[in-house]
């Protein structure tokens, strides 16, 4: 029987990359987490509040998966993530994994034309 691959692994070896984001300014950061190991789901960012600190940073995107908070590698539980986030005071360092969608690869245009 095939094991149920954790969500993470299901997406498996798709191309993904880690993005590091450093927010500052303090709560509320303006993003919403959903899922988590509690629900046997990946812990994702499902909403980014317009005008928030997270939005201003411009680096976080909806769909990003939480990897680590403040250099603490997450186990996957949302509660854990919540605690870590709430534990931050003025700065919040998030590492998220962003998966490349298998949309047709954009041709690199010559930016200098």
């Amino acid at each position: 029987m095939g094991e149920q691959l954790p969500a993470k692994e299901r997406r498996g070896a798709e191309a993904s990359r880690c993005v590091e984001v450093a927010l500052s300014g303090g709560a509320p950061w303006g993003f919403t987490l959903r899922g988590g190991r509690e629900h046997k789901e990946p812990l994702l960012i499902t909403k980014i509040e317009e005008g928030s600190k997270a939005a201003a940073m411009g680096k976080l995107q909806v769909g990003d998966e939480m990897v680590s908070i403040n250099d603490v590698i997450l186990t996957g539980y949302r509660q854990e993530a919540i605690c870590l986030v709430k534990g931050s005071h003025r700065t919040l360092k998030i590492v998220v994994r962003r998966y490349r969608l298998n949309s047709p690869q954009k041709v690199r245009t010559c930016p200098f034309l």
Binding site: G12, L33, H39, I82
Partner: protein
């Protein structure tokens, strides 16, 4: 000198006469000897009257005749001896008239007509006539004296004629105090013998008998000849002889009288006496007159001499003064400037000395000269002399003129002195000023030209060049500030030149040096500015090029990196379309290469240009481009690398294409199977669900049904296994999606598991229900109710999990009924969303953003409350107080969401 003369003026007047006269001071006003045109007629009348007396006697008194003869002879001889001849016999020696004429000539000093040289009577007569004519031409009327008588030797006539001559030539001219002739002679005798008490001259006969008169006369004039005090009145003979002797010896008067005759004759011949006395008169008075004349002359001469001396003095003084002026004026006109103030001041001192010491005496001299001149002129005018005409060049006007020139020169000199002093002072001051300013300038300028010649900009960067430019600007304004100073220096030098500074050469040299240096500075500054600006331009150009390089390089570099990244990009494609689009993209990419290459060339071109510039202008090239870390080399290297990657990618893509194609096949394979199995499982699930919903039948019935289903399911397993096999292949091929089926292996697996577990669970449930029914006595109906409720809330696995988490937080696998009930109460309430939960809590919290433990305990059933208390995180928002709980995050967490 004049004054000296005046003070020591003693005039020693020497009077010169034929006979020596004693010198004595002339105190009297000089007698004027004037020619008296006396009437001779009265004289002759008297004479003739005498003659008449005589005639009455018919004879000349023999005594008188004797006396006369002696006297007259002596008298004639006294004159004739001058002509070198004599007479012996008075009546004879005149007979031929020659000696007569001679006598007359001697007496008168005039020339008579030439005597006839002959011995004939008529010759003689002619000669005598010539004499007589001469006598009468002198104004004497010769009555009854004819030439014939004389030629004949008539004694009486001859004597008479001689007496006439004597009278006319010796006595007639006597003039004493306006008395003339006989009377004059008498007066003279009286005057002269007046001091002699024992002499009384009343006449020319008896008064002379005692001889004292004669002696007195002699003594009066020549006291050295006769010791008069010794003479006795009654010693007439002695006296007479003495007088005669002395007269002859000392006075050059021949003895014309015979002493005895006179003594013996009661009344001596007055004519003889007169004749003899007249000789005395002529000797003395003449001498006297001569003396007086001499005195007068002396006086006059003295005056003349005085005047002449004065004139001479004047001339001398004038000369001296003029010479002094002539010497002084050049000194005063010598306006040769001195070099130093001291020399000038010395000159001023000298001038002051001149004014104080040397000039005043000269002024006085001049004054004296004028006074002397005026005095002299006055004197001359008074004494009827012609005015004094000083010699050429020494006239008063000349002196005045010269003096004026002197004073003029003085004034000029003084002015000039002061001006010179002023000028020198100014010069000194200026020279000092010049030196100071020149020094200041020189100090400032030291080393500046060295600095200006620096070529430091050649190896300077843009900022350095700019800094140098700033510095240079500062220097330029410094220079401008000094322009003033240099101009001042030049102006001072100019003034020094105009004022004729003695050391102008040195000043000019220094000034010239400064000016030349200044001009040089100007040139150098300009040059440096130009050089700096040029360097700046070049650096700027280079900088611009660098900038452009950087601007273009960065995107190019990024592009290349991106391109390389893309070329090396690990692509994961899961479909043929994907790989094909990648291939297409790759091709498109390749088509952009030419443009990219030209860009690359352009960029390299920039670098070349920079190099060209640095080489051409020999400036140091800052190798490093400050705007970018990317070097040309890097670009080129990357380019090459990129070019290498292209074919690699090509190959990779092609490979992938092949793979994709095989994958597709696998997918289809899988899909076909999954599409069968999936629905089957679905159906079975539905069956279970159906049976759950249906509440008919007993629990045991349900149980059996389920057991049957279980078996079926188990029997179906091989299909699933086969699918697994396909799935494995797919997995091995790393295929992750399959559009040919909606069912993933996971689905199938999960479904299968779920099926199994659902079956098991449902069986278990039923068992539980059975147990519970058996344990708690719940009716079937209740059970059915809850089951329906439960199915109503069945939302699938995730929801299930959530709910499980709530009702069985500890994952014990056991759900207490109460918790379940509690959950239900919660769930059935209209709390569908997190927000509504939050709202509900807010109501409970009394609109606070947090809720308190007491409130929870108050509002909720204790278990729920405790659950909340245990689960809610502390509220840390605003207005937080200890014990505040965050219901909001709790609520969102319920829904699987957390807002952070």
């Amino acid at each position: 000198m004049m004054s000296q003369m005046r003070s020591t003026r003693t005039s020693q007047v020497q009077s010169h006469t034929v006979s020596q006269v004693q010198s004595h001071t002339v105190s009297q006003v000089e007698d004027t000897v004037h020619y008296n045109h006396h009437n001779y007629e009265s004289e002759l009348e008297e004479y003739m009257m005498q003659e008449e007396d005589w005639d009455r006697d018919l004879l000349l008194d023999p005594a008188w005749e004797k006396q006369q003869r002696k006297t007259f002879t002596a008298w004639c001889n006294s004159h004739l001896r001058k002509a070198g001849t004599q007479i012996e016999n008075i009546e004879d020696d005149f007979r031929n008239g020659l000696k007569l004429m001679l006598l007359l000539e001697v007496i008168s000093g005039e020339r008579l007509p030439k005597p006839d040289q002959g011995k004939m009577r008529f010759h003689k007569i002619a000669n005598v006539n010539k004499a007589l004519d001469y006598i009468s031409s002198k104004g004497v009327k010769l009555v009854s004296i004819g030439a014939e008588e004389i030629v004949d030797g008539n004694l009486k006539m001859t004597l008479g004629m001689i007496w006439t001559i004597i009278l006319r030539f010796a006595i007639h001219d006597i003039s004493v105090e306006e008395t003339s002739a006989k009377e004059g002679l008498l007066l003279w005798c009286q005057r002269k013998t007046a001091p002699y008490k024992n002499v009384n001259v009343q006449n020319f006969h008896t008064s002379w008998k005692d001889g004292l008169a004669l002696c007195a006369l002699i003594h009066r004039h020549r006291p050295d000849l006769i010791d008069y005090s010794k003479l006795q009145k009654d010693d007439a003979l002695y006296n007479l002889n003495l007088a005669l002797e002395v007269a002859e010896k000392e006075l050059d008067i021949p003895k014309m009288l015979d002493a005895e005759d006179i003594v013996n004759t009661p009344k001596p011949d007055q004519r003889a006496i007169m004749t003899y006395v007249s000789c005395f008169y002529h000797a003395f008075a003449g001498a006297e007159q001569a003396e007086m004349a001499a005195n007068r002359i002396c006086k006059i001469l003295a005056v003349n001499q005085d005047n002449e001396k004065a004139m001479g003095e004047y001339e001398r003084l004038a000369s001296e003064l003029l010479q002094w002026i002539q010497r002084t004026i050049p000194w005063l006109e010598n306006l040769s400037p001195e070099k130093t103030m001291q020399a000038m001041q010395q000159k001023l001192e000298d001038f002051r000395d001149y004014r104080r010491l040397h000039k005043p005496p000269k002024t006085q001299e001049k004054c004296q000269l004028e006074i002397n001149f005026n005095t002299l002129q006055t004197k001359l005018r008074i004494s009827n002399r012609p005015a004094f005409m000083p010699s050429e060049g020494k006239m008063v006007s000349d002196i005045a003129g010269a003096w004026q020139r002197l004073e003029h020169a003085e004034k000029g000199y003084e002015e000039w002195l002061l001006n010179e002093l002023r000028r020198l002072e100014r010069l000194d001051h200026l020279a000092e000023k010049f030196r100071q300013k020149a020094l200041i300038y020189e100090v400032w300028s030291h080393g500046k030209d060295y600095m200006l010649k620096q070529k430091d900009y050649e190896s300077a960067s843009l900022t350095e060049v700019r800094a140098l430019l700033r510095k240079h600007e500062a220097f330029e304004s410094d220079l401008a500030a000094h322009q003033d100073r240099v101009e001042q220096i030049a102006a001072i030098a100019q003034e020094l030149n105009e004022l004729d500074y003695h050391n102008a050469v040195e000043i000019n040299a220094r000034c010239q040096k400064i000016c030349d240096q200044w001009d040089n500075f100007g040139t150098l500054t300009q040059k440096r500015r130009e050089a700096l600006e040029r360097a700046e331009k070049l650096q700027e150009t280079i900088d611009q090029l660098f900038l452009e390089f950087a601007k273009r390089t960065t995107p190019f570099n990024n592009w290349m990196e991106g391109a390389m990244e893309d070329l090396q990009d690990m692509f994961i494609v899961h479909s043929i379309e994907e790989i094909q689009s990648l291939i297409a993209a790759h091709e498109q990419f390749k088509s952009t290469l030419p443009e990219a290459d030209s860009e690359r060339q352009a960029i390299l071109g920039i670098v070349n240009e920079v190099q060209k510039i640095t080489q051409t202008y020999s400036i140091s090239s800052t190798e490093s481009n400050p705007y970018t870390m990317i070097s040309c080399k890097e670009i080129s290297a990357k380019w090459d690398k990129m070019k290498q990657l292209i074919p690699q990618r090509n190959a990779a893509l092609q490979e992938e294409l092949v793979r994709q194609q095989s994958n597709e096949r696998l997918r289809r394979q899988f899909a076909s199977q999954a599409n069968i199995i999936g629905p089957w499982i679905q159906r079975k699930m539905e069956e279970i669900a159906q049976s759950s919903i249906e509440i008919s039948g007993t629990l045991e019935d349900q149980m059996n049904q389920l057991k049957q289903l279980e078996e079926v399911t188990i029997n179906y397993k091989p299909n699933v296994d086969k699918l697994e096999g396909d799935h494995q292949l797919i997995q091995e091929a790393l295929i992750f999606d399959n559009k040919h089926t909606n069912y993933t292996m996971e689905h199938i697996r999960v479904g299968w598991e779920m099926l199994l577990t659902t079956i098991a669970r449902t069986i278990n449930e039923i068992e539980t229900q059975i147990l519970t029914r058996d344990a708690k006595g719940i009716t079937q109906q209740q059970m059915n109710e809850f089951r329906s409720s439960f199915s109503h809330f069945d939302r699938g696995e995730a929801e299930f999990a959530r709910i499980m988490n709530l009702v069985d937080p500890n994952n014990t696998g056991l759900v207490s009924f109460q918790s379940f009930i509690s959950f239900m109460t919660r769930e059935t309430a209209d709390t569908d969303t997190a927000d509504q939960v939050v709202a509900s809590f807010r109501i409970l919290a009394g609109d606070k953003p947090y809720i308190l433990v007491e409130e929870l305990r108050r509002e909720l059933p204790s278990e729920q409350a405790e659950y909340c208390i245990a689960s809610m995180p502390p509220y840390r928002g605003p207005e937080a107080i200890p014990g505040a709980l965050d219901y909001a995050s709790f609520s969102t967490a319920l829904y699987g969401e957390s807002d952070l």
